[in-house]
């Protein structure tokens, strides 16, 4: 029996009927998203490998085909997380909370990838892992730690309703604060360093078509990966909630605890 069919037959009929009915098309959609993501990823990797060397950076520019798309994908994911958080507070729909949490978790992953590839690129081009002059690097790191806190808050609240409300509130507070943090760090840099830093950045040059194509392919791949991972994460959250419910209803507290074997009473 395939895992999908087994899980659908295991569901409790009263609460899970609707989900059971839609499970098969949904899991097929998730699988096809995954396959599409893999295909796009392969295409993106091939195009990145065959792109010409960049004029000033040479091989280093190839790192930007993973750095820039992951940054954009992270923004999309965190943005989706915030929109769904607001949606949750308006409608109180548990699904919105699950999607919000999944999007933010995957967004944190992409933020980490952005930071790591940025650091590797920096070591490569600037000679140091971390550049205090780069405001975006510093503010992205702050953002990363804030969302790590968000995930930690999620993990430490067990009541789903309390968790959903508090995480939605934190998401909105972050949404208001993060631009302020970002601009303050930007300001910090402009007040302390010369206003113009000439550096081999994509933003400073008009990009050649030879680089636009692999960048676009990588971006498409990352967005597909994002969609796949979020879908899987939501499904996982639903399954784990069902497991928790089943455990709390079918088994009396302490049922799994027995006297140590070999103990004579």
């Amino acid at each position: 029996m395939s895992p999908a069919t087994r899980s659908s037959t295991c569901r409790r009929p009263d609460t899970m009927t609707r989900e059971t009915a839609t499970l098969h098309p949904r899991s097929r959609a998730i699988t096809s998203t995954g396959v599409a993501a893999l295909c796009l990823m392969a295409t993106g990797l091939y195009m990145a490998a065959t792109a010409p060397d960049e004029e000033t950076q040479g091989e280093a520019a190839r790192l930007l085909f993973v750095h820039v798309p992951s940054a954009i994908t992270a923004y999309i994911a965190l943005g989706a997380g915030l929109v769904t958080a607001v949606w949750y507070l308006i409608r109180r729909s548990p699904a919105a909370d699950l999607v919000s949490a999944a999007a933010i978790e995957v967004g944190v992953l992409f933020t980490a990838i952005t930071l790591l590839t940025g650091m590797i690129w920096g070591r490569f081009v600037w000679g140091v892992w971390w550049d205090w002059g780069d405001a975006r690097m510093v503010s992205t790191a702050v953002l990363f730690f804030f969302y790590l806190g968000y995930l930690a808050l999620r993990r430490s609240i067990s009541d789903p309703r309390v968790r959903a409300v508090r995480c939605a509130v934190l998401g909105i507070v972050g949404f208001v604060q993060v631009p302020i943090v970002h601009y303050s760090v930007l300001w910090f840099r402009t007040l302390h360093q010369g206003p113009s830093i000439i550096r081999p950045d994509l933003a400073n040059s008009t990009m050649d078509a030879a680089f636009v194509a692999p960048l676009g392919a990588a971006l498409a791949a990352f967005i597909a990966i994002l969609a796949y991972l979020v879908a899987v994460r939501v499904r996982l959250a639903r399954l784990e909630a069902a497991v928790d419910r089943a455990a709390s209803t079918s088994q009396p507290v302490g049922a799994s605890v027995g006297p140590p074997s070999g103990l004579s009473v």
């Binding site: 990838i113 140091v128 550049d131 996982l236």
Partner: protein, 58 residues
């Protein structure tokens, strides 16, 4: 060649000048796609575990 950002250590050799470009690019790709693969793998593992734990009697 690549410009140094202000505040960088002037005595650090640039990797791009050391002729190791390819391996650093590979390292970057390995880190990025490795992180994605680890996360996806962990999700798949948790998914399987959750399915196993759904008691069959209900």
């Amino acid at each position: 060649m690549a410009a140094r950002a202000p505040g960088c250590f002037a005595d650090r050799p640039l990797v791009s000048e050391a002729g190791m470009a390819g391996s650093w690019v590979l390292f970057g790709y390995l880190v990025a796609y490795g992180a994605l693969a680890i996360y996806a793998g962990h999700q798949a593992y948790r998914l399987r575990r959750a399915r196993r734990r759904l008691p069959p009697e209900i």
